[in-house]
Amino acid sequence: MDTTDQAANGRSFGKGLGLKKSLMTLAASVMLATSAQAAVPATAEVNTTGLAVTDDTVTVGILHSITGTMAISEIGSVQAEKLAIDQINASGGVLGRQIEFVQEDGASDWPTFAEKSRKLLRQDNVAAIFGAWTSASRKAVLPVIEQYNGMLYYPTFYEGLEQSPNVVYTGQEATQQILASIDWAAETKGAKSFYLLGSDYIWPRTSNKIARKHIEDKLGLKVSGEEYYPLGHTQFNSVINKIKLRKPDVIFASVVGGSNVAFYKQMKAAGIDFTDEKPLLLTISVTEDEIRGIGGENVDGIYASMKYFQSLDNPNNKEFVAAFKEAYGDDMVIGDVTQAAYLGPWLWKAAVEKAGSFDIDKIREEFAGIEFTKAPEGYVRIHENHHLWSKTRIGQAQPDGQYKVVYETEELMEPDPFPEGYQ
């Protein structure tokens, strides 16, 4: 499936991924329309705020970077959102209406994100926006969404410290990702000392702050070092020497972007074999997508803390992975953010149907408690603070680029974007 073509259309009113699927969708909707005519609520009832809703369709917006440095990461989210929309349409749509989408390109440029979000809300009157990826893009979009009362479904795991009534955060926030993983390292692997290493910007810094508090105050263990390297930095020999010097039990890594590739290659070249687990490397920033660029053999043996891995063994995920590969190709990999993006349209649909309306204010009231049992990660539930209850999992990277799940929290982790005691 040539997704670059699709992605190349900055604005595409798209319904499907090919003629066959469109026909199927058409057939399904015709059938549903004729059989469920009476059940489709009137537009005037479900849309009192002037959103782009007709008797047959509802329009949503997709806002990601398909050009620029972030394109590598965000394309997966676009694919996932489109897949979800297709599947929803094939099963009858939302409140009997087929979903159409307007796709805009944020171009890895934050003012462009703000500009496009304003366009989506004011000119296209979309009922929901699935988008943003970096915190910076979300921050740029936030005032616009709040000013025009839109609803953004944001997929990336992030640092927390935010709770907007106009955003649903489908990715984990920092405490969900970090606390359970450090506990696991301490209990299961007997770790006593941690070396915190990240790229120099808000997400790693905030994550390490939380990690440090947990390690030192809650667990009484040691932090042997905390370091940051500028985004785009590529020479890690010095920090590798420091690590060899201090011999921490765990390296807690939140390096992102191109630095990731350089870091793991150089670690491997320095003779550090992660499968020995001396030190053990625990990361919160390497998903299956990143491994594609780094190379499976360079990260063999590292552990990652995410809520989703492509190798999760449950019926939902098997269907999801199969559908994704059928749509986009057999060599696709699916990382945590991609799955979180997939959740967005489904959660929106659930909220709309529960509220019986597309109005933002009405669906907002219904968010708390909405469950999605068909989530590829198993099960999620929306919390009042607009984040998701989800399980945290630890996976060990295999040479083929997939993760083997070695640990899963028994309970769902409660999202806590403003954690007491960690601030």
């Binding site: 670059t4 259309n9 900055g10 050009t67 390109d105 440029d109 703000a114 005032p143 940051y228």
Partner: protein
């Protein structure tokens, strides 16, 4: 050059160009565009400030600065700090652990405002800082460089390094600066909500007004002896030095002028767009600002405005319809402007359209003669880059250069 009464100037060719631009910006665009698109045009115009500054310091004086983003960003950050403080009153930030400070400081566990933020509670200080901080930095850099006769490529690379340094610092010190996210969620200016449509429209006109102010300042500089010295320095620096002028002082002046313009542009940008982030300071952003100037015509300050408008409009247009083609187009633009029309659109205009104008306005020969001296400095004549030291006799000196 003596101009007769200012009113008569409007009837000269040069005056008409300015009037045409004014009509375009003040009448045609606001009528033709909805507030959303008008706001975008306002954003493009803020880049024009930087482009005008570059015309002065690069086109005329031959100093290529690849770090104008630094000054743009500094002006923008000053304004953003003021607006952010205003939006972070203790009442508005009651849910924070430390009310009364910006949100990003709170979640970086700062408990009080850093000292260098304090003065930005005052609007008048902010206005001074918007121009003062970039000018101060430009002065320091310019003094260090120009008194030692650093120029050309060296200077350009150093400005790049400074842009890189500032970007790393701002991103790293996120408690003080907002980091990579920048300073967002700006709401009111002295109580006036800047996010409404009317406010945006008013800000657009303010921006246009400031732009014309800068244009007039630039024109003033270029038409006086000062402007001629700059052009002379560009062509033959040593001769200007031997004639007794302090070349370094002039270079510092024009570099600071360009920095001041960029700072004003940055502040307007913050007001119009509603936030400021380090992505406008870096190397890529700074080099893009050069292309606005180059496309419009590096010797024409009016051309700079058109260049900024056109390139940004093309960028938005392309990225909506053909996002993958835009980098190719921009790269081709860089190369084309340098190779094919080094004097940009203004140069093309001069070559092709001006003769037509002459024919049409034959009867205005009188006014034309008067306009000629005023135009001479604005005329895009090919400028020789500084030639290498070892062959001072072989250069493209030509008698008709001013």
């Amino acid at each position: 050059m003596k101009s007769s009464s200012p009113l008569k100037w409007f009837a000269t060719r040069e005056g008409l160009y300015y009037v045409a631009l004014a009509v375009l910006l003040v009448v045609i665009l606001p009528l033709a565009l909805d507030p959303f698109r008008l706001n975008m045009v306002g954003k493009y115009l803020t880049y024009a400030f930087v482009a005008i500054g570059l015309v002065m310091c690069w086109g005329k004086a031959g100093i290529l600065s690849l770090g104008q983003g630094v000054f743009f960003g500094l002006g923008g950050y000053c304004m953003a700090m003021f607006l952010k403080l205003e939006a972070s009153t203790p009442e508005a930030t009651a849910i924070q652990s430390t009310p009364g400070i910006p949100d990003f400081m709170d979640w970086n566990q700062l408990t009080e405002l850093p000292w260098f933020w304090e003065p930005f509670h005052s609007f008048s200080f902010t206005l001074l800082a918007v121009i003062g901080v970039p000018v101060l930095l430009a002065f320091v850099i310019g003094f260090a460089m120009f008194t030692r006769r650093v120029g050309g490529v060296y200077f350009a690379i150093i400005t790049q390094a400074i842009a890189a340094i500032l970007t790393i610092l701002i991103i790293g010190q996120q408690g003080y600066t907002g980091g990579v996210n920048g300073i967002t969620d700006l709401q009111t200016l002295n109580g006036w909500d800047i996010r409404t449509d009317e406010a945006r429209t008013i800000l657009y006109f303010v921006c246009v007004g400031m732009l014309f102010l800068c244009l007039f300042v630039a024109r003033l500089v270029q038409n006086r002896k000062l402007g001629r010295i700059l052009v002379a320095m560009n062509a033959q620096e040593n001769r200007v030095r031997f004639s007794g002028y302090d070349v370094a002082a002039f270079k510092i002046f024009v570099f600071c002028l360009a920095a001041a313009f960029a700072g004003v542009g940055g502040a307007m940008f913050t007001l119009i767009v509603g936030f400021m982030s380090p992505s406008f300071i870096g190397i890529v952003a700074s080099i893009e600002m050069v292309i606005f100037c180059a496309l419009g015509g590096r010797l024409s300050i009016l051309g700079a405005v058109y260049g900024a408008l056109l390139v940004n409009a093309a960028k938005s247009g392309f990225s909506e319809s053909f996002p993958e083609l835009w980098p190719f187009a921009m790269g081709a633009l860089f190369i084309g402007v340098v190779l094919a029309f080094p004097n940009g659109l203004a140069g093309l205009y001069q070559t092709y359209v001006t003769p037509l104008e002459d024919k049409i306005f034959k009867r205005n020969k009188g006014a034309k003669l008067e306009a000629k001296p005023a135009e001479k400095a604005a005329e895009p004549k090919p400028t020789a880059e500084k030639t290498s030291d070892y062959d001072p006799m072989i250069d493209s000196y030509s008698p008709e250069k001013s």
